[in-house]
Amino acid sequence: MDMLNLLTELPRADALDLLGSAIIYNGTHPFDLDDAENAQVISLIRQIKDDLKISYLDRTPEASAIVSQALSDTLDSILFSSGDLDATKTRMADDGILPINGYEIQISVTSEISARIGYKALKETVINPDRIEVLVPPKTWYEDASQFNTVLYAKKMERSDVNRWIIATTLRNDFTIKVLGSFVVDLKLVGSNEYESIDSWVMNFALKYGIEFEFGEFGVAKYFHDIAIPFETARSRSDRLLSRDGIVYYEMSGHNDQATETYILFMFLVDKQLYFRDLRNRRSTKKVNRR
């Protein structure tokens, strides 16, 4: 009798409980099982090891990992009946607690600055960031301010260099995370340091390389003060914004009738010539210094 057959003879709740105990026992958790439970758990693990052609006495981390994986896979097959997994993910996405790997990541950035970073590096920035910050929209927009979905991700370009970071800004929507904008910031060049927040980096970057700032429908302003401050809002079509070679933060509305409306927190255009020249110069300076 294989493992699954053994478990299907039990009520579902008992099978899940037994699998939970077996996972814990197989790991290094200090639960002291009573004798009756111990016998069931040991019997189950012995059965799994037989199925996997692993010696029962093999307690190496590798063997334990294989057994854990088999137990976890079986647990999933019993826990999630047909359609159950999707329903759970939908509920979690609605609550904003679905892990990032549960989303489909869409890199839809068209600007030259973003394109130079590369698809793989951008995806890695979102999946395994070194830093994450959430742009909280003005509380007046929502009764529940936790319903935000615009996030800043930052990842070091090299582990040994604390100054050069990739920053990506994303929008979460159902099971999709869209990378809207991204750029490389050299903290030394913009007068920041690694202990400041990502929004401070963005602000300093914009102050140095931004040539035009737009705040909502009231036209153009040259400076902004704080990302978290509620700027005036405007409505626009996202495809028009994305076609511009700038960095755009906006929030998809969830509280009014037209859910496709876009609220611009702020945006700025980048002086590309100055930005690329500085990045090039910084790279060549580093090479000289290493010699």
Binding site: A13, D14, L16, D17, L18, L19, G20, S21, A22, I23, I24, N26, G27, T28, H29, P30, F31, D32, L33, D34, E37, Q40, P61, E62, S64, A65, S68, Q69, L71, S72, L75, D76, L79, F80, D84, L85, T88, K89, R91, M92, I97, L98, P99, I100, N101, G102, E124, I127, N128, P129, D130, I132, R159
Partner: protein, 174 residues
């Protein structure tokens, strides 16, 4: 199947002034905070057993139970982007296993157990960023339990606190 019987507390086994240390992950912290309301910690009176005098409490802690070793191994796995790291794979499994026990006990619903299972399975490496729990012993001394010898890495005493409240510890990143 009931939750395993707790080992009797050991209120006077350690000096009141001692700190207990426990290395965990961000994901585990978030799940415990969100779903269980309390934190289960396997802890040690030594932050780094190798830095202690040979006669000190916790000085002979095995590396696999030494809080700073666990912390460093987790941090290294994340820095190297090692998605096959065995410790992280073990965390993914044990988070699911514990959720099943909590559901059976009625602490969480089956729907919540499913959410935890999805979290454990799909969490990115960065969600396993290590955290160090810093637990003043005098706040929890009545609830500290001794790990049975058969479950320890070696003969050195190890402890658990099954129901830490947020006000009873700090978490730090090193």
């Amino acid at each position: 199947m009931p939750m395993p019987a707790a080992t009797p507390p050991i209120p006077s086994a350690l000096p009141d002034s001692i700190i207990l240390w426990s290395a965990g992950s961000r994901l585990k912290y978030d799940i415990q905070e969100r779903y269980y309301g309390t934190h289960y910690c396997w802890c040690s009176p030594a932050f780094d057993s190798e830095a202690l005098a040979a006669t000190a409490v916790g000085a002979n802690m095995a590396p696999s139970s030494n809080p700073i070793t666990i912390y460093r191994e987790l941090a290294a796995a994340i820095a190297k982007n090692d998605s096959h790291d065995l410790r992280i794979a073990g965390f993914r499994a044990s988070i699911r296993g514990i959720a099943m026990k909590k559901a059976k006990e009625g602490i969480i619903t089956l729907d919540q157990a499913k959410e935890i299972a999805v979290m454990a399975k799909t969490a990115s490496l960065s969600q396993f960023k290590p955290l160090m729990y810093v637990i003043p012993y005098n706040l929890v001394s009545g609830r500290v339990q001794s790990v049975p010898l058969k479950n320890r890495a070696n003969f050195e005493p190890e402890y658990t606190v099954p129901d830490l409240h947020k006000s009873e510890f700090h978490v730090i990143e090193l």
